[in-house]
Symmetry: C2
């Protein structure tokens, strides 16, 4: 199946949930001649090697990326700069350097000054994931039917952009191109603020005096448990997201809080119509997300119910 | 299987998601001699009759509850008083009158003055549900392994309380007894405020100028879609919850907003340690919810991934 090979050598830096899923999806698609994976955490690397989802496993990132035609950085946004500095000296001329980070302006401005002019830096973000972490949490179909956003710089090489687009499509994604700035605004509302308020409600609930933690857990099926899933996501990754997309997150958070204050006022003054209007409007969005194939139709996300 | 019958006649008022699930669970458990269902909405009643999950279907609530030993009110909290007034004249002496409402102080104070002294009013709340509505959304196993909270008045008849407890256990629930006041506080944080902030973030996201609604839908897998599930819940039911549990909801909402403001400040000032600390703490709660059997172990709530 050599005609499917898009890149003679691909290197993935970081073997966690996303890095290991990209590796598996590459193998499934058969788009790499050789696939090399590296991780600076010895235990993670050992686990990855045991799972065997690549041809080569390296503890030295430089050895993994040497001669690679495509390098995918799958590390927390805050670690991009140090990885970039480490691999820059050995990058092959003409290589495409991309990533999977949830913030795009910050990643580009961290990497751009560090990398040689001979490579193509084209950041990307597959909008997919689960609340679990580590190499064994990954799976090949994670990107199927999900969107991958590519945020090329203005002066991008069109051929390189085309190759990266085909790569993500081969992994099962649909691809959208936009500016890094717009990406960061869109993700602030569709991902970053939702994570922040999920983390926050779980924190609030665990700090109460009048309601015990055991009660919070027992009665979580009333709605609370839905928030605990994303509040179980990787802490390092999410700390870095908020530190690196400050402006857009604070803007969207401001709007959220303003709207919440209006709802609070409607409750205090018994304005049932205002509540009913909002609660009716929000049903439609879920319908459209299901119609767009971005969530399950089944009740309760398809959670298992014994019948 | 007559030895399983707990009540010669049970009546359920309201044939929506919860009422129809209670009916199906009663049939599955075989605990009713006769099961009568009523709904004031003609279309809902016709759908219920078509589905056939009870012995009798009545458009007149009085006919359904007449001679019933147990009456379960499965209507929105705001409709309890009018239903109570309608059925009060025909209730059988010694009957147990209970409900499934998400607010308990409000239900008790609405019903108590209306019902004859000869019946046992013992409010209850099975903490279970899905985002879907109507008779066809119900299923018999909805209450399996979930908690049902019963909030008896101080002067409760112990035998009646015991019978209601056994009833819910026969339907698959675990039962907890607490005061109505404490219930309303616990549910404010485990259910009511989570629903409110889910409705709110979905509202905020659909009102943006810089991010289109189509973008919100496309990239919802970044976290947002988790909120849309509970923001698709029944608008009438939830309006009534907030209007009838005002005090506890405002108290918990105040704490949530206070904590969110602290997080906002941590982001603005780049306090990564504060963010990391919270994000680490919240993982533990999810673990405990899964260990307690109140949510799925599988990633993404067990959402389907093609492998």
């Amino acid at each position: 199946m050599t005609d499917k090979i898009h890149f003679a050598r691909i290197a993935i830096v970081g073997a966690g949930l996303i890095g290991s899923s990209v590796a598996r999806a590459i193998v499934r698609a058969g788009v790499a001649g050789t696939l090399a994976v590296t991780d600076k955490d010895e235990a993670v690397l050992a686990e990855a090697r045991e799972l065997g989802f690549a041809h080569e496993f390296h503890d030295d990132a430089k050895k993994a990326v040497q001669d690679a035609d495509l390098v995918i950085l799958a590390v927390p946004v805050g670690a991009m700069a140090s990885v970039g500095a480490a691999i820059a000296p050995v990058l092959k001329a003409g290589a495409i350097i991309s990533d999977v980070g949830s913030v795009k302006e910050g990643v580009f401005s961290a990497l751009e000054p560090l990398l040689p002019d001979t490579v193509h830096l084209i950041p990307g973000h597959p909008v997919a994931g689960t609340e679990q972490s580590g190499p064994s949490a990954g799976f090949a179909s994670l990107f199927d039917g999900r969107w991958c956003i590519i945020t090329p710089p203005e002066a991008v090489d069109d051929e390189a952009l085309g190759r990266l687009t085909c790569f993500w499509e081969a992994l099962g994604s649909k691809v959208e191109i936009m500016t890094a700035k717009h990406h960061d605004l869109v993700l602030a509302i569709t991902s970053h603020v939702p994570h922040l308020i999920a983390y926050n409600i779980v924190g609030t609930a665990s700090d109460l005096e009048e309601v015990t933690r055991s009660e919070v857990i027992k009665y979580s099926a009333g709605g609370f448990r839905d928030f605990t899933r994303i509040a179980a996501s990787d802490p390092t990754m999410w700390r870095d997201v908020f530190l690196n997309n400050k402006e857009a997150v604070l803007e969207m958070l401001g709007r959220f809080s303003e709207d919440l204050t209006a709802l609070q006022r409607a409750i205090r003054w018994g304005d049932g119509d205002a509540l009913f209007d909002l609660f009716t409007r929000t049903r439609d969005i879920r319908r459209r997300i299901i119609d767009a194939g971005q969530d399950e139709e089944a009740a309760d996300f398809g959670r298992h119910h014994k019948e």
